[in-house]
Structure formats: C-alpha cells, structure tokens
C-alpha cells in the first residue's frame, strides 16, 4: 500500500512536485527542467529526478550527458541510496538523478523497489524535489504522481493531449480509490467501479451515488479520499488567448465531471526558441530568461511554492455526499 499522505513535518520541510500527464511531447520535461532551473537561480537546493522509466531524457534538456550513477544504479542496488545518484549539474544548487539507460530492466519496477524509491525520495537532502514522469498511466507513474504534493499535469491545446489528460486523471482517480479500497478491505467494490466508470462522463457520480445508497460510510471515506487528490494543470505551447482560456476550461470540466479540485496554474506561451535551445543542448530557461515562456514558468513556480496553502485549504463543497 502506497502511503498517499505526508506527515506535517515532511510537508513543511520538503516540496515534492511531480510533472506528468497522459500524452508524450506535451513538454513535461521542459516544464520540470525550467522549474528546477528557476528554483536553483533563487539560491535554493533542488534535485530533479528523471522518473520517466521508459524514455528518460531530462539530462539532455539540461545539456548534461548521460553517465553513472543514475536512477538505474539505485534501483539495481549498485549504489545504496538515491542521495548518491543525485549528481551535480553545471548550475549552482541544482542536482539531477538521471534516468536509467538500462530501460528494459527498470521500466517494470516491482512493488518493493517502488516503495523504496518513494521512501528515499523523501529522504533526499534538499528542500525541493521535482519529478519528471513518463507518458502513460502505468501504476508506477500514477503512484509517483500521487505521492507528490502537488502533481502537475502538463497539457497542450490539442484534442489528443486533452483526451489523454482526462484519461490520465481518471486513472489517477481510480488508483486513489483502489488504494483506499485495498486499505479498508473493500476490494469487491473495485470491479463495480471499473464497470461503472466506463459508461459515461457522469459515471463517477453514478458510482458514488449507488455506493452512498448501499454503504454510506464507505462512500464517505472514498469520496473524501477523492477530494484529497488535488492536481494542478499547466497549458503548455499556448499560441493565443483562446489556448490560455482553454486551460481554465479544462480545469473547470475536471472539477465538475471528475469531482476533483484541480487548480489551473496558467499557460506557457509557444516559443520557437525552445526547439533551437534543445538542438544546441542548452537549457531554454537560462538562454531566454526574458521570454514570455520563462516569465510564465516563474509565475507558476511561485504559485506552486504557495501550494501548501492550496493543499491545506478545504476544497469547496466538501460537505459529505448526499445519499
């Protein structure tokens, strides 16, 4: 069972942000790297962790070559702790846990290794940890996303990206509910949830409605667990005002139809120089500090830094569900 909650002390001392989302190519690594570089430029200690187990390349965005030790060395016990895998970068205050080159072996992490990784993540000697997650909705990716506080979903203004983001959020919701069902030993509800959730957009409501009628106490527990999941949203590669507003709309639809308290952090404008920086193996954020995209990243970082307040805030309408 993955512990989804952080103790009060851990929460105040350490910020663990995870950047994820369903679709590839939305700019998850770009956002993660830029957030890390921004925090480091404010003289903060930051560790970027490339937790994309299938296709790691965060180091390339920072202009750093792949080398050992990396995440694979930690997961295969070649090094005793994750702290040793966090190596220095050319940027002051910023360290990186590079993704493993041995992806065939690492991509399918077993439960024990996953728990060890999550535990050591909280023990890293730094105040800020940023996880760059991979594409898709594997249990590992979902658990990494859910253990962060908060998780950030990166989406682009394209139907494919939005569709996959909703799928990713649905998977997160099902994972949260399943973990609580396992914890409270109500596993028979899981199959019922899977059947119900496939029906239509209001299926989650239908699931809770029928659960409230059959067992109000479990319904209350699961509904509260769901309301405790509060991801953030970033609209990347926004080309105009409509794209910026689209992000707000997506967060609103997720709040209404997926019953989650989602916060819209804002949009990162599309910038051709991102591609040029990537080709030159130079971090965009440092090369174009005055660009609109870099300004947006700074603003998001501030929003996220105050996300503890957001996490502690009771989400609106958290009163107990009606039977």
């Amino acid at each position: 069972m993955v512990n989804l909650s952080f103790g009060a002390k851990e929460k105040m001392d350490k910020r663990i942000w995870a950047v994820g989302g369903g679709k590839g190519g939305t700019g998850k690594s770009f956002v993660a790297a830029s957030l890390g570089l921004h925090l480091a430029s404010l003289d903060r200690e930051v560790v970027l962790v490339d937790a994309d187990l299938g296709a790691p390349n965060l180091h390339t965005l920072l202009g750093v070559k792949a080398s050992h030790p990396d995440l694979g060395d930690f997961l295969t016990n070649a090094i005793p702790s994750l702290e040793e895998a966090a190596v220095a970068t050319p940027y002051r205050g910023l360290r990186i846990v590079k993704g493993s080159e041995n992806i065939l072996f690492i991509a399918n992490l077993n439960h024990y290794k996953k728990l060890r990784f999550l535990r050591q993540l909280r023990q890293l000697k730094t105040q800020n940890v940023i996880l760059d997650l991979g594409t898709g909705s594997s249990f590992n990716t979902l658990d990494f996303f859910l253990s962060a506080n908060p998780g950030v979903v990166v989406v682009t203004p394209e139907p494919t990206a939005i569709e996959n983001s909703y799928l990713f959020l649905k998977s997160c919701i099902m994972r949260v509910l399943k973990l609580y069902m396992d914890h409270y030993k109500i596993r028979d509800l899981h199959q019922k949830m899977l059947e119900q959730i496939e029906k239509n957009s209001q299926s989650l409501y239908g699931f809770f409605k029928s659960l409230m009628e059959s067992d109000r106490s479990y319904g209350t527990i699961l509904y509260r667990a769901l309301r405790g999941f509060r991801p953030c949203l970033v609209m990347n590669k926004a080309r105009d005002e409509r794209d910026v507003l689209l992000g707000r709309s997506v967060a609103d639809v997720a709040r209404k139809y997926l019953l989650i308290d989602m916060k819209y952090l804002g949009a990162v404008p599309y910038d051709d120089d991102v591609h040029a920086s990537l080709r030159g193996l130079r971090p965009f954020y440092l090369e174009h500090r005055d660009s609109a995209a870099a300004r947006a990243i700074r603003q998001m970082s501030e929003e996220l830094a105050y996300s503890i307040e957001f996490t502690l805030r009771t989400p609106p309408e958290i009163r107990l569900p009606d039977a």
Binding site: A8, P157, I221, R242, L245, R255, Y257, L259, L312, E317
Partner: protein
C-alpha cells in the same frame, strides 16, 4: 456536495460565489460558454454531445436569471430555503488514509488541570 449536474444550482454551474457581482456573473458566463460551446476542446473525450447541449441550456438559463436583479433575488430566496448558504470554511486538514493529528493542543479538562497542579507540587517538593 456530490450532485448530479442537472441538480447544480446556477452559482455552482457558473463556478461563482453567491455573493458574485454582476461583472463576475458576466465573466463566468462567458467562460462557461467558451467551455461548453460546439466544438470546444475542453470537453473532448469526456462529455457527450447530449450532455454538452444540456449544460449549455442550463448556463443560458442561469445567466438570464442572475443578470436580472429581481429574478436573482427571487432565486436566491428560493435557494436559501432549499439549501442555506455556507461561506467557504477556514483552512483545516482532513485525512482519510492516515489519521494525522497536527498540532492539536491537549484538551483543558478539569482532570488535566488537577493533574497539572499535583505534578507541579511534586516537582517543587
């Protein structure tokens, strides 16, 4: 509160507080129109056409009511009778998986006070 979309009141539908000004109502209406308009990407893959049409109708209905001060007053009164307004709560934490007791001061019961007096006397002695 867990409600079916058809059961949301106009304020929940437009995601605004019941104390929202006319300008805020207008802005929320425009945002809701953009979210649920025909061909909107925001509902792609999650909301069916029929549901989108239904919610759009309700958004129009909500705006027509809330833009008119008299209609809004009548609606608010009806709403208050049905469900009293509870302003947003102060920050506090609820946890389910792991019960967290965060800096909760011990209760000052009579027995605790008596015990404190005795322990103080013992330490003085």
């Amino acid at each position: 509160m867990l409600k079916k979309i058809e059961d949301w009141n106009y304020y929940e539908l437009l995601s605004i507080e019941r104390t929202a000004s006319q300008d805020e109502v207008w802005e929320a209406y425009q945002a809701a129109l953009a979210t649920y308009r025909d061909g909107s990407l925001a509902v792609y893959g999650l909301v069916t056409e029929a549901e989108r049409g239904l919610i759009l109708e309700r958004i129009q209905e909500a705006f027509q009511t809330l833009r008119d001060p008299q209609k809004r007053k009548d609606y608010d009164l009806a709403l208050l009778r049905h469900s009293p307004y509870v302003p947003p709560k102060a920050p506090f934490r609820k946890s389910v998986g792991k019960v967290e007791i965060e800096a909760i001061p011990p209760k000052k019961t009579l027995w605790a006070r008596v015990r404190r007096i005795f322990s103080r006397r013992n330490s003085e002695a």
